[in-house]
Symmetry: C2
Subunit: 131 residues, 2 copies
Amino acid sequence: MAKMIHSMVRVLDEARSLDFYQLAFGFRIIERLDFETFTLIYLGSDETPFELELTVNKGRTEPYQMGDGYGHLAVSVDDIEAEHARFTEAGLAPGKLVTFERDGALFARFFFVTDPDGYKIEVLQRHGRFL
Amino acid sequence: MAKMIHSMVRVLDEARSLDFYQLAFGFRIIERLDFETFTLIYLGSDETPFELELTVNKGRTEPYQMGDGYGHLAVSVDDIEAEHARFTEAGLAPGKLVTFERDGALFARFFFVTDPDGYKIEVLQRHGRFL
């Protein structure tokens, strides 16, 4: 049986991305591997063994094209209102806090934020199926 | 602290994607939510609570653009050679099985496979940091 272990995105500026993921989500470097033409940085937290793998291709300066297929990485948090306020104060420009009902019951409370390369991250209140 | 809980990709054909993810990785539908203009399908396995969220936008027929930023979702498996043979036999057209050394030691054994919409999935032998 296959186990999902990480998601990989390409980023231009390692320091800029590390600052963002640390400030926004508290992710830290689990491992950093430097190769001749690229660097791999595995980010994670104590909450889950799943990791975000950043690939930095050395010498690349042209912004990556996001396309319209890949959607987002989702994270859950304990207190979405506090996080939304903290993101706003930190200048991370979060989107609007949305309450999404389904069949008259709360399905999800969430907002989106965009990382320095343009990848979307959905921040969800821990509730229902989003734990 | 934020916890990574799922990754979302948009797909055109629900049945085609479900067949692929079931056959390739043994993922099953954890939850399927139908809305007026879209359907969300959460796929997973017993190996990890992390899920793959498929979004099907109703009426969309134009293939999604993959861009060059998003890389892949990675999964780990117990026996990469057996899986590579099984993928080949099942007509999933896996890429070449690659052995990647670093400083003279095995770093990773892996192959890539492409899902029906064009998303890459990296299949890694459980070894070292890829558990």
